[in-house]
Assembly symmetry: C2
Homo-oligomer: 323 residues x 2
Amino acid sequence: MGGDQAPGAIVAGAVHAVRAGLSVLLVGDEAQLAPLIPRGVSLPIQHAAEVIGMDEPPVAAVRRKKGASISVALQAVAEGRAAGAVSCGSTGAAMASALFRLGRIPGVSRPGVSAVVPRVDGGQLVLLDLGANVDCRPEHLALFALMGHCYAVAGQGLTAPRIGLLSNGHEAGKGNEQVRAAEGLIRALPVNFIGQIEPTEAFRGGCDVLVCDGFVGNVMLKTVESTAEVVSRLLKEEIVRYTAGRLGAWLLQGALRRFRKRTDYAEFGGGLLLGVKGVVVIGHGRSDSGAVFGAIQQASQLASHGIVAQLEQTMAAASAAEG
Amino acid sequence: MGGDQAPGAIVAGAVHAVRAGLSVLLVGDEAQLAPLIPRGVSLPIQHAAEVIGMDEPPVAAVRRKKGASISVALQAVAEGRAAGAVSCGSTGAAMASALFRLGRIPGVSRPGVSAVVPRVDGGQLVLLDLGANVDCRPEHLALFALMGHCYAVAGQGLTAPRIGLLSNGHEAGKGNEQVRAAEGLIRALPVNFIGQIEPTEAFRGGCDVLVCDGFVGNVMLKTVESTAEVVSRLLKEEIVRYTAGRLGAWLLQGALRRFRKRTDYAEFGGGLLLGVKGVVVIGHGRSDSGAVFGAIQQASQLASHGIVAQLEQTMAAASAAEG
């Protein structure tokens, strides 16, 4: 029920997923959802009477609306009736509901939110935390390094993902107090840590996972989206300026359409809640049916690769190593 | 002497400025600079025997190398022989040298670095701090709001620039501790403060000046540059994929060239040191001659609009208001 184009785009994405061989359970208002399902598509609905809006204070809303679609969906994950959940609604509500219905993995003091963005070298960059934690202590950054490692292994298929710590440079003396303190903690962890790294180097392929506090990560992700928007607009302006440009643009329309799709961060599937006992993927609010399908595929892949079990083992090992 | 293409691009940019009617003093190694000046161009050289490299610890290097080109240039500003200075070398060295040679404006506890980036709506966004201060207290953010106000008035010609405080949202409860504490301080200042704002809204035109701590601002600026690079690469890939695309690209080459120029942040002229007693513009290390010319124009404009006097008056008024 969440997202700018809900429930139409959500159901269309789910139908796409069913046709691609995945098994999907829709959760939401049955009266709205049922008419959207094409004849012959097996897409069961679990009715949820309430919806949590984007502007509601998440924790209070989750407590008050026991029958909210996000909570009913995460209850299905908690009971093993679903391998994972996808929501295009409020990230805060999904996190609050996940803490309440699924609980935290032992050793995870602060669950996080991560997402994947494209790098200049054609690879992908796992970013975390993206906003769940706006006032982090250095030990939280160390926790994000462990969780990001597990995501890159289970979600990206990397064996020894390079973990970078977001900073304003890599030279000695760079970083703020928080980052310098976290650097020592992450060095002691069983991950492939490359140290402090600035965005320029990370986007060029210098690391696979970029760890930062939630305030900085949220600003960074929104800056990526905004810059893609600015750059696309400047390109359009230059193209329509001349007739040759207009003719060129007509010939280029296929390329420009694909370019827009690749630079629209709504197409990137979604963020992932990390540290809770279940797979919860958060799609962008602007998600269209293709983005919803992508998020469902991502949830399915993360569940089948056992990211939760991997995180549980990693946290247990880290806690044993600490004594 | 600073910058990836120095001294060639620097001298070429200075020659361009002289031909455009500006008066320029070159500071650096005379033996290297003199042969680069075309016959008939009046471009005096003040010899400086030393150069501070990008990787030298700035404060120590400025102390040790009394004859470094940046220090000799800023001494010319201090003595009134130059209205302002431009450097494409180390920002840290420029700041250290500015503090030593020019000093701080009374009331400025922490000078900052600001820069201008393009917005989606075609306007410009003044960002500060961009890295001079990586561990800020809320009162430093309030100082940046005052300094950003003066920059937007003197540099952009705005009368009541809208000041935004960078955050992860604008709703109640958003922001980290630092930002929430700064919000109250900025409300008490004589500036047009619009409150907390996220990057998405700021880039769409929600404010003219975006205030943040230096660590976050540095990460943000580098993320803008990196995303522009990623987006340009994706566009190129899509264009060369098809023959129609290749033909279209040939017709579009003028538009694409201008697009690259407009999205290359080296073209944006430079950052500005704010809070020191003089105009000091820092060009990007990648600056070509056009970017150097832009930075010289910017320094000239800021000096003729009296940004330093404006800052002195603003700081004095703020200090008088505090009692």
